[in-house]
């Protein structure tokens, strides 16, 4: 078989992500301590796990309706109303998916025709670019900058909009930078988009993880944006439920209807046990979320301070659970920095260029780790930096 000839050219052109490449290297080195994983170190709250067990004991093992359990969609609608102040009809405007990733994928496939351009704020999560390409769209990066706190500015957006622009991916709170968009920033973006036929895919998977007094604001709640925004969220980060594979999308009914077709033929329905457990998560775990966010916040301060003390400029993240220190002062590329750090000090972090070209010169460091683990890793990175300086 000549696989190269036979396999889809489009798919073959997609590369494995820079995160994954790096994880493969890290996995081959013994006794690595990692600050690289993008998932909570907390276990799923016990009450959620118990509900899953109870669901199994009751024998609820069949498919759910394609768009998800009715009571879960109702709970999601309640959650969105409460947290971002926007109302969605659980029957026609919410779909439960296999993680946020499936919701992102289905969004692109629901809105894109060949040649449509999608603006993607970078640095950002690695899945947008390949998923857009697989849906025959053309990803157009917008490089956010540290001097703008890695926020998308009006000017940057205006510069990139063309007649072919179909959508904007707005990934805030941001992985990997930890940036957030404040209400006034979003107002600026909304002012541009309000009279254009451009969708916003607002990936709000880290919405619960914001630090300081200001809570997450969704662009969907701004005037004129509801009809053009698809809100993506899920249970992985806020409820520490990564392995349960459960996310959702909420948006205008015509969009969700198209997404439902894709989901129904490709997936059928999200995992049933996870869905029942998620109802409990939404109803009873506010305290657990607040506790976890409080813990992340302390670690965030500790790690930002740690990097600044060792002479690496570290943008103060206001959301998610990553810091994105600048390593340009070392004279090393992101890749070289990370490879040498792993070889010489056995600490794994992710090179910034994995999240878009403009991430070059940065590293992504996760603080979803215990304080003692973070202190140990910081100590080793500090040694590495001072040895570099010689």
């Amino acid at each position: 078989m000549n696989y190269e000839e036979l396999l889809s050219k489009k798919t073959q052109a997609i590369k494995f992500s820079g995160i994954r490449k790096f994880f493969d290297i890290a996995a081959s080195v013994k006794d690595v301590i990692s600050l690289s994983v993008g998932e909570p170190d907390f276990k799923t709250p016990f009450i959620i796990r118990k509900e899953a067990i109870r669901t199994l004991e009751k024998g609820k093992t069949a498919y759910t309706s394609n768009s998800g359990l009715e009571e879960l969609r109702a709970a999601i609608a309640g959650y969105l109303k409460e947290t971002i102040g926007v109302g969605y009809d659980p029957k026609h405007q919410i779909i439960v998916t296999v993680g946020g990733s499936e919701a992102i994928d289905a969004s692109f496939r629901a809105i894109l025709d060949p040649g449509d351009e999608v603006l993607v704020c970078e640095p950002s999560f690695v899945c947008y670019d390949p998923l857009i390409r697989l849906a025959d769209g053309i990803p157009v990066p917008i490089e956010t900058r540290v001097e703008n706190r890695f926020r998308l500015t009006r000017e940057q957006l205006l510069e990139k909009i063309t007649p072919k622009t179909k959508a904007l991916v707005l990934p805030y709170p941001n992985n990997p930078t930890g940036a957030v968009m404040r209400r006034e920033d979003l107002e600026g973006i909304a002012a541009i988009l309000r009279d254009k036929n451009i969708f916003v895919i607002s990936d709000e998977i880290y919405s619960e993880m914001t630090y300081g007094d200001e809570k997450h604001v969704s662009i969907s709640e701004l005037e004129g944006m509801y009809d053009r925004t698809i809100v993506i969220n899920g249970f992985s980060k806020a409820f520490a439920m990564t392995g349960w594979r459960l996310g959702f999308a909420a948006g205008p009914a015509p969009v969700i209807t198209q997404m439902l077709k894709i989901h129904q033929y490709g997936i059928m329905s999200a995992p049933t046990v996870s869905q029942y457990a998620a109802v409990t998560a939404l109803r009873e775990c506010r305290e657990d979320i607040d506790y976890m966010v409080g813990e992340y916040d302390m670690r965030r301060k500790l790690i930002v301070n740690g990097f600044n003390e060792m002479g690496l400029d570290c943008f103060e993240p206001e959301g998610a659970f990553y810091v994105f220190p600048c390593i340009k002062s070392t004279g090393l590329s992101s890749q070289d920095f990370c490879l040498r750090l792993i070889e010489e000090k056995k600490v794994a972090v992710v090179p910034g260029d994995a999240f878009g070209e403009c991430g070059e010169g940065y590293i992504r460091v996760s603080y979803a780790y215990s304080i003692n683990h973070i202190l140990l890793a910081l100590k080793r990175i500090k040694e590495f930096i001072s040895e570099l300086k010689g």
Partner: protein
């Protein structure tokens, strides 16, 4: 909930600088706050959480349930205070339920603990009976799960 107390409960060796950064205060403020907690008797000491059996394979720890007859003026206090004086005794609690005092004893071997109970504890005036329970294996100590280094089961996976 006092966040400083919670952090120290988990790791008393965090430096004032580290605590200050995490709590958004200055190291001087932290120092003062800790001194305050100590002066007010809210923090009465610091100790390491020891994996005893790793340090000494023969080491034995026992929980002893003691029934006593309370004394006229002092209730249980006098006998409890006296028990607390022994260096072998790690903790002394007055309990609700079917016995009165719970005492934790640590010895270098089984015999030492047994002799402590029979020679020192049981003969005390007012002690009516004792029941000794030996620890066979530890799973969690002061909030820390054993084994000490828990494998991080999160795989390095990413899209």
């Amino acid at each position: 909930m006092n966040k400083l107390v919670e952090l120290l409960r988990k790791n008393a060796r965090l430096t004032n600088d580290e605590l200050a950064v995490m709590l958004g205060k200055t190291p001087a403020e932290i120092e003062k706050e800790i001194a305050g907690l100590e002066n007010e008797g809210m923090i009465i000491g610091y100790s390491a959480v020891i994996n005893e059996e790793e340090v000494d394979r023969n080491c034995v720890t026992a929980f002893i349930e003691i029934k006593v007859s309370p004394q006229a003026e002092h209730g249980y206090d006098e006998i409890a205070t006296m028990l607390a004086q022994y260096k072998e005794v790690d903790s002394v609690y007055l309990m609700s339920g079917s016995f009165d005092l719970s005492v934790t004893i640590r010895g270098t071997n089984l015999r030492e603990v047994a002799l402590f109970v029979s020679d020192k504890l049981a003969p005390i005036d007012g002690v009516l009976s004792t029941t000794t329970h030996f620890i066979l294996r530890r799973f969690k100590e002061k909030g820390i799960e054993f084994p000490l280094i828990e494998d991080d089961e999160r795989k390095m996976v990413g899209p």
